[in-house]
Symmetry: C2
Subunit: 362 residues, 2 copies
C-alpha cells in the first residue's frame, strides 16, 4: 500500500493500484471481524460484507480516485489516497446492497444478492414470509453498516491535518447526489415515457457524477487541486460517465448473463426507465408502442417477450442511437483529456479507463 509515486512520465500501474486497494479492504474487514468476535457479535454480518466486497467489482471508483490524485500532481506515498479510494468501494457496496433490495434483484456479480442470501440463512425455524422480511431487514442493516464503515475508513486514513476537512464538501456532495439520482430513478420506474430528459438526469446524478466525476474530484482534492484541475476533470468525467451508463443499459438488455453476472431479464422486468427505452417509445409505431407498454415492467416477462422487446429496440433504431450517443460521449471525454494538459501518466491512465468503461462486455 505504500507504493511510491512513479517517476514523472512513468505509466501508472493500474493493476498495482487495484491490488493495494484490495489489501486495504481486506485488512479493514479482517479488523472488523476481530472486533465482532471480541464483542461476541454474530460473524455473518462481516462475512457477508467481506464476500460482497472482495467477491468482485471493477474497482472503477477507487482507480479514478487514485488517478485524480495523480492528475492533480499528488506527491509522496500513496497509502492515504489508497485508503480514501477503498472507502469509496465500501460506500459503493452500501449503494449496491440497497439498490438490490429496491430492485428486488436476486443475483449480483454471479452470486445471490445480500437480501437473498440472508433470507436463506434465516429460513430455518421461520416461515418463508418472516425469513424474507428479516432477510431484507438484515440486508438494509448491512448496507447501513457499509455506509458507516466507509466513513470510518476516511476517519482512520491518517490524512495530514486539515486534509480531511477539504474532502468533506466533495464527499457530502457525492452522497447526496447519488441518493437523489437513485430517487429519480425510482420515481421513473414503471412509468416509462418517450422523454429522454428523465433518464438523462438520472444518469447524470446516479452515474456520471457519482461514478466518475466525484471519485476524480476526491482524489484531486486530496492532492490540493484548484478549480482549474477540478473543472478539467469534470469535462472528461461527465460525458464518460454518461457513456458508461448507456453501455450498462445496453448490456442490461443485450448482454450475456455469463459475463455481466446478472440475469438479462432483470432490467426489463423491473421496467427501468432508460434512454434506450425512451428512444424506442419515441420512434415506435402504435403497435410497437403497445407491445413495449405491455412487456416492459412486466414481472412475468419470459425470454420470448424479451426477444420481442429487443427486436423493437433494434427496429426503432433505439439501439443504434444509444451506440452513437456512447461514441459521441467517448469522443468528448477524449477531447477533454487532450485539452486538460494533466501530467502524462494520469492522462494515459484516464484514456485507458475510458476504454475499459465504455467498450466492456460486463
Amino acid at each position: 500500500m505504500s507504493t511510491r509515486t512513479p517517476c514523472a512520465g512513468a505509466p501508472l500501474d493500474l493493476a498495482g493500484i487495484r491490488g493495494a486497494v484490495e489489501t486495504c479492504l481486506a485488512d479493514y474487514l479482517d479488523g472488523k471481524a476481530r472486533t465482532a468476535a471480541d464483542h461476541r457479535m454474530p460473524s455473518e454480518v462481516v462475512d457477508a460484507l467481506r464476500a460482497f466486497i472482495l467477491g468482485g467489482g471493477k474497482r472503477l471508483r477507487p482507480l479514478l480516485c487514485v488517478c485524480g490524485w495523480h492528475a492533480a500532481g499528488g506527491t509522496g506515498g500513496t497509502a492515504a489516497v489508497v485508503k480514501v479510494a477503498a472507502s469509496l468501494e465500501v460506500f459503493h457496496a452500501f449503494a449496491l446492497i440497497h439498490d438490490d433490495i429496491m430492485d428486488r434483484s436476486a443475483t449480483r456479480r454471479g452470486h445471490p444478492t445480500v437480501h437473498k442470501a440472508f433470507t436463506r440463512h434465516l429460513r430455518p425455524r421461520r416461515s418463508r414470509a418472516l425469513a424474507e422480511r428479516l432477510g431484507t431487514g438484515a440486508a438494509i442493516l448491512i448496507g447501513d453498516l457499509a455506509l458507516a464503515w466507509s466513513d470510518e475508513i476516511l476517519h482512520t486514513a491518517d490524512l495530514p491535518a486539515g486534509h480531511l476537512a477539504t474532502l468533506w464538501p466533495v464527499v457530502d456532495a457525492m452522497r447526496t447526489e447519488v441518493m437523489y439520482g437513485q430517487y429519480l430513478d425510482l420515481l421513473a420506474t414503471g412509468d416509462p415515457t418517450g422523454a429522454v430528459e428523465v433518464p438523462l438526469k438520472v444518469i447524470r446524478y446516479k452515474t456520471a457524477k457519482y461514478t466518475v466525476e466525484r471519485p476524480l474530484h476526491i482524489g484531486a482534492t486530496l492532492a490540493g487541486a484548484g478549480s482549474h484541475v477540478l473543472d478539467a476533470l469534470s469535462a472528461y468525467a461527465l460525458p464518460l460517465g454518461e457513456a458508461f451508463q448507456l453501455r450498462d443499459d445496453l448490456l442490461g438488455v443485450f448482454g450475456t448473463p455469463k459475463t455481466t453476472g446478472k440475469p438479462v431479464l432483470d432490467d426489463l422486468r423491473e421496467g427501468k426507465h432508460t434512454v434506450l427505452i425512451a428512444l424506442a417509445l419515441q420512434h415506435a409505431d402504435p403497435a410497437q408502442r403497445e407491445t413495449l407498454h405491455l412487456l416492459v415492467g412486466n414481472s412475468a416477462l419470459d425470454e420470448d417477450g424479451a426477444a420481442r422487446i429487443r427486436d423493437i429496440l433494434t427496429a426503432t433504431s433505439a439501439r443504434t442511437q444509444v451506440e452513437n450517443m456512447i461514441r459521441t460521449r467517448c469522443t468528448q471525454a477524449r477531447h477533454a483529456l487532450l485539452r486538460a494538459a494533466l501530467p502524462a501518466p494520469a492522462t494515459r491512465a484516464l484514456r485507458q479507463i475510458a476504454d475499459i468503461a465504455t467498450a466492456r462486455t460486463s
Copy 2:
C-alpha cells in the same frame, strides 16, 4: 443557538436547549430544501424528512449530548455542541425510518411511517404492489440521506480545529453498536425463548449505549473529557438506558396508543423478543407457554388475543419483575450520579432526564 454557558450552579435550561436544537434542525433542512430547488430535485424528499424530524420526538439524545458537554465542564458558547446534538437527532431519524421498514410498522409518532406515506404518494398510475415496492425503496433512500446528512451536520458544525477528530472514534462506535444491536434484535424476532440474555444484550447495544451512553460521551468528548468523566457517565448511562428500554417494552404492550403514538398491537404482532416476553415464557405453565407461542408474533393478533397475552404477562409476574428491574436500574443510575461528582447543574439535569425517561407514558 448561541446561548452562553450558565453561571456555575445555575440550572441547565432543558427547554432552551431543546429549542436551540429545533432551530438548528429547521435551519439545516431549510437549506436542504433550497439546494434541492436549485437543482430542480423533487421537494418531497426533504419535505418528508422535515415532517418526520420536526413532527415529534423527545430529543433525548440531543439533550443528553448537551448535558454531557456541561458534565465535562464545557465552556464558551453552545452553538457547536447544539449542532453536534442536532446531528444525533438526524441520525436517529435514519435509524427509526429504517427500523419501521424492518418492522413493517404503519404508524410512528401518530403519523403514517415514511414507507407508508410514500407508498400512498406513489400510488397514482401504479399497481398497489409496485407502489409498495417503490414506497419502501423511497423510505430506504430517505433513511440513507438522513444518515449522510447527520454526518454533514458534523462536518459543518464549525468545531475548533482538531475537535472533530476526537469525536470520530465515539461516533463510529455508536453507529456500529446500534446497527449490531438492531441485527441481534432482528435475529431474535419470531424466535422467542425464556433466555433473558438475548434481549438484555439487544437492550445494551440498541438502547443503553446508543440512546444514553454515546450521546453523553459525544458531548463530553467535545468538552475535552478524560476517561474518568466518561466512565462516570457510563455508570449512570447504562442502567438508565436499560430502564428506558424496559419501560418502552412495557408501554409497547400495556401503553395507550393515544399517548405512545403507535398501535399497541405492533410489538406483539411482530413477535419482538423482549425481556418481558422472556420472563413470561420462563415462568409460564405449559398452557400459558402454548398460548404465548401461538399469539406472540402472530400477525393476525386481535385485541382479544392481546388481552390474553397481557393476562399471562401479569399472572406470571413478568410485568412486576420488569417494573422491579426498572426500579433497580433507576436507583443504580441515581447512585452513579451521586458518586460522579459532576458539576451540580449537569447532575440535576441528568436526574431530571432519568425521571422523564423511565416514568413516562409515551
